[in-house]
């Protein structure tokens, strides 16, 4: 009996640091942000507010900067999630069919994962930027194909969006390639041998065997991809600098931070409302994903 008691005390002592940190920096803020989002006219300096209501939500939803950020975020999500998953799939399949230099390729493809996205973003910016001194590496390549130079960093919206998506895909691919190569490798080769004897074409093997068998992993990547892309922010800063509103490239998360870190001491209420909206969107999309997967994904 005494032993049980002693174990109980040890256990709670062991868990104490985790409980304190989780409580202060995760549970309390979670509740607090909800409260913030309904406190109208909160003043950061005096820590007072005028009343309770949905004004913060209404403000955010009518703020043109937020609308712009919402639009940008959706475009990034819709383009980068399918593209990156698709490219990662093609690369992983190609990798699964070769033996020579396979490890070298895998190592190279993984490199972006261990780089500081802010730092490499700066390199991308320089490669795509057009200045008085140079049109930049990418434009020179474009010129070689006979097209005219474009300023991808401070030029037209679609050009900026292109760089944005390109960089995002560049950043998220390593993880997806890694996951897909290992899940393709885990399909028992006996199924391919069986299919081969039955005269199955390579394409059909892929659709009928590989794809269903790795579908849970693809689905996992799509869900994490959606969640990640909805939270896009630092890649944008890396390319377009901290003033994303001026560049017209802000995202929802960027909007939240801008609201929080304003010159006037910030508007945590607006930031909270925006954060809750973001969370609702991500949650809804994840639920939809789960429902869709029930019908399409094979689980052993």
């Amino acid at each position: 009996m005494g032993n049980d008691r002693k174990q109980s005390i040890t256990a709670w002592l062991c868990l104490l640091p985790a409980i304190i940190f989780l409580g202060v920096f995760l549970v309390y803020p979670m509740i607090d942000v909800l409260i913030y989002s309904f406190e109208e006219g909160y003043n950061f300096a005096s820590r007072s507010f005028l009343g309770i209501g949905s004004y913060n939500y209404s403000y955010v939803l009518h703020d043109p900067y937020f609308i712009k950020a919402l639009k940008n975020t959706f475009i990034i999500v819709i383009i980068t999630v399918p593209m990156s998953t698709g490219i990662a799939l093609i690369i992983s399949i190609a990798l699964s069919h070769i033996t020579r230099l396979k490890e070298l390729f895998q190592t190279i493809y993984f490199l972006p994962y261990v780089t500081n996205t802010l730092a490499v973003g700066l390199v991308f910016m320089i490669l795509f930027r057009k200045t008085a001194y140079t049109d930049g590496m990418v434009n020179i390549l474009i010129n070689a194909f006979g097209a005219r130079s474009i300023d991808f960093i401070e030029g037209p919206y679609w050009a900026k969006m292109f760089v944005m998506c390109f960089y995002t895909i560049w950043v998220v691919l390593p993880f997806k390639i890694l996951i897909l190569t290992s899940s393709i490798a885990s399909v028992d080769p006996i199924y391919y041998r069986a299919a081969k004897v039955d005269g199955t074409s390579k394409l059909r093997m892929f659709y009928k065997i590989t794809l269903p068998m790795i579908s849970p992993m693809i689905f996992y990547l799509i869900i994490t991809g959606f969640i990640g892309a909805f939270k896009a922010y630092s890649d944008e800063v890396a390319l377009f600098g901290t003033d994303l509103n001026a560049a017209g490239m802000n995202t929802i998360v960027g909007y939240i931070y801008d609201m929080l870190y304003g010159n006037s001491g910030g508007y945590p209420s607006y930031a909270s409302a925006a954060a809750i909206i973001l969370f609702s969107i991500v949650f809804t999309i994840t639920v939809i994903n789960l429902i869709v997967s029930k019908k399409t994904v094979y689980y052993s």
């Binding site: 256990a11 062991c14 803020p29 950061f44 070769i98 390199v123 998220v172 990640g228 969370f279």
Partner: protein, 291 residues
Amino acid sequence: MTGNTDFEKIEREYNAKEIAGNILRYVFLIFWALIVLFPFYFMILTSFKSYSSYNGEYVPRLIVTSPTLQNYVDAFTQVSLLRYLLNTLVFTVLTTAIMLMIVILSAFAFSRLSFKGKNLLFALFLSLMMIPNELVIITNYVTITNLKLRNSMPGLIFPSVISVFYIYLLKENFEQIPDELYKAAKVDGTSDIRYLRKVMIPIARPTIITITILKVIECWNSYVWPRLITDDPKFFLVSNGIQELRENGFGRENIPAMMAAVVVISVPLMVLFLVFRKKIMEGVARGGTKG
């Protein structure tokens, strides 16, 4: 059955298709490898070009004719790159160390000790995994500001030390250690904590290393929280440093010097990666989430 000639034709076509497929694969893989590698090549290349030669090239040259180390000297003297690096190092080491302690203790309690409400508490912990960082960062920002911890190491570190996912990962690993070992240790009069130190941690070392590596990568690249909580360059981490460099550094648009700074910042993780390549890739496949 048809004659022999048909078979030879099928065989030839089959082999030709195999070869063509292989060529196509390699061409594609090399193409993408170039896209991945080019930015790295470009930053290293440019970091060795002199300011004047870089700006003199309308079409940037892909080789460097007279390499210079001046940019690296500038990066360390004209801006506080060394300070950013040191800050990041301190931040990374402390955050990872504190996190490891918390994670190991919690995983130990959940996997080895029995106490009332264990399952409920664990379920509660798991449900916390769903809370996105973006949601809690607002209040944390306010909390840290109120505690007057802005522009301080504790302010940077505290909200970053916890990860429910790693507790879960390690708990699973601890649970695979057979009960017999614990009973044997108990018979020998070993205390729980000694058992944790002498048996569980050594056995679960691979997982602990994985967690450490993942956390180090995360710390080295963290940007959002440091940006919110520091505005004094004395406390900048490398990510903020880079942003600062880009917007205010070097007085003029000194791209080669910036690239030198980028190379310096990227090198530590690259070296870590090349040394622990297998471990890191396995670790990310098991517990990575970025992407």
